[in-house]
Subunit: 291 residues, 2 copies
């Protein structure tokens, strides 16, 4: 089966981690151990976020006036190299062959997101120490950047070609590099869940998996009435969405991206934690979403 797996920020960089190379590589190894069997028997694309890494890189860019700063699209490309390399290193230990592809994603340059930056990146601060910072999830202030909707994964045909040849493909890192139709870069960070969902449709994946920090999708998350969802349809899930069950910037984009995948022809999406991914694919854990 062809499977697209989106690795959430927490899977690759635990909360509180500084983001050292050792931490990132170690996290990547933990992830690959959990999915090794799956990688060996399926065509798999791994996608990943880049929020902490691109934010860190941006700070470093601004740390010296000796050499020029790169714009955000270029920083996105650089974090794809960085994180992709960590994942590829982890996959090497299994004996499997992987390919890390720098991936561009076409967006609409008139997307209203460009006038309204909402995507938090980089470290948390106690106060808004720079312009364009906002409180993120009650944990502190973070820099926010525009996050336009992905329209087309430019490299989807190369990804399919590599899957057919038996490579584990690492792609669409950080949601992909935002470009105009003509290839020109745009300063933004695309939501990786949306971009992954689009990719899954474009490569006609049979299954889309969102790996996150919790085992399931929950209703009334964090309340005494909290309860998990094991299987659900997109119609029911849409109602839960409208009732405000899912947190912005956290579970909500995953639920929306899962619905989009199924609505666009995908068969099944799963939301689960990395430790229950095997059971989730066997239908014994996680939250499965279908038509």
């Amino acid at each position: 089966m062809r499977i697209v797996i989106a690795l959430g920020g927490n899977a690759l960089l635990p909360k509180g981690a500084k983001g050292t190379a050792e931490e990132q590589l170690s996290s990547a190894k933990q992830v690959v151990i959990q999915i090794e069997d799956m990688l060996k028997t399926n065509q798999v694309v791994l996608t990943h976020g880049n929020g902490p890494q691109v934010g860190n890189l941006l700070l470093q860019q601004q740390g010296t006036k000796e050499v020029p700063e790169m714009p955000l699209d270029v920083l996105g490309a650089m974090t794809q190299g960085q994180i992709g390399y960590f994942i590829a290193s982890a996959i090497s230990l299994t004996g499997l062959h992987s390919s890390t592809l720098i991936t561009r994603v076409v967006v609409d340059q008139e997307d209203p997101a460009f006038a309204n930056p909402t995507k938090p990146i980089g470290p948390f601060y106690e106060t808004a120490v720079r312009p364009n910072m906002r409180m993120d999830a009650g944990s502190g202030y973070r820099l926010v950047v525009p996050s336009p909707k992905p329209v087309k994964i430019r490299e989807h045909d190369a990804i399919s070609a590599l899957l057919e040849k038996g490579f584990v493909v690492i792609a669409v890192g950080g949601g992909g590099i935002p470009i105009k139709e003509n290839g020109e870069g745009l300063e933004a960070v695309i939501d990786k869940d949306q971009a992954t969902s689009l990719l899954a449709n474009q490569v006609e994946a049979g299954l889309l998996v969102f790996v996150t920090s919790v085992d399931n999708v929950y209703l009334d998350f964090g309340k005494p009435t909290q309860r998990s969802i094991s299987h659900t349809s997109i119609d029911i899930l849409k109602k839960y969405l409208q009732s405000g069950h899912f947190a912005e910037g956290s579970m909500k984009p995953k639920v929306e991206a899962a619905i989009k995948f199924v609505e666009s022809g995908g068969k099944k999406a799963i939301i689960c934690s990395i430790s229950n991914i095997k059971a989730a694919i066997d239908g014994k854990a996680g939250t499965a979403i279908s038509k």
Copy 2:
């Protein structure tokens, strides 16, 4: 025909340039204009150096203590993303499809280069302002890092797969990320000419082209007796090498890499400038090296 083209540092970042995104993208566009016809009628891999970019990135890493520095192998991966994206953007303007592949290169961890750093990276300084700096080509002091010999291009099979599917492949950036056989990264920068030559053999290219800042290989370069070489054999070239005709860190590694390619079964290598690359492939310019 399958062609591997190594783009020299000067082709992508003119001497004296600061290394801004605009400069790099503009240079990439100039390069692609010269090779557009070739890209349309051949299977082409483009490789490139990363000396200025990886040096700049290293300085930026050290510019703030807020976030952790990445080691040199990770910085190499990041510059592959950066420079590959610039070249991919330029190729997009031709309507061709490209794939930028993060490329790792196995080296011997016992390579004596690790005890003797020789590869200059980053900006030039008037004095040795940091440890491990040396005078480079009389132009100033630069940081030097180990430069081990490439043993195996880990991603050569993915590169071949993408070439067969019609993609222009951008790979082995900065000579590739140096790794041990088990995939573990090593802090070094591989010579991109050597790595490109090895790739050309591994993907069984019919032609290997080194694009540099001069039109030809010259004997007595810069002297009143300077004369260009149009065609030559590896045996003759080896004699010139021994007589010290070619500058260290400049023409010498290209000549050595061209010889290695032909000795390892390659048919023809060419050394030329970007402006005469078309004529060089037609046998009307540049320096052609064969058995």
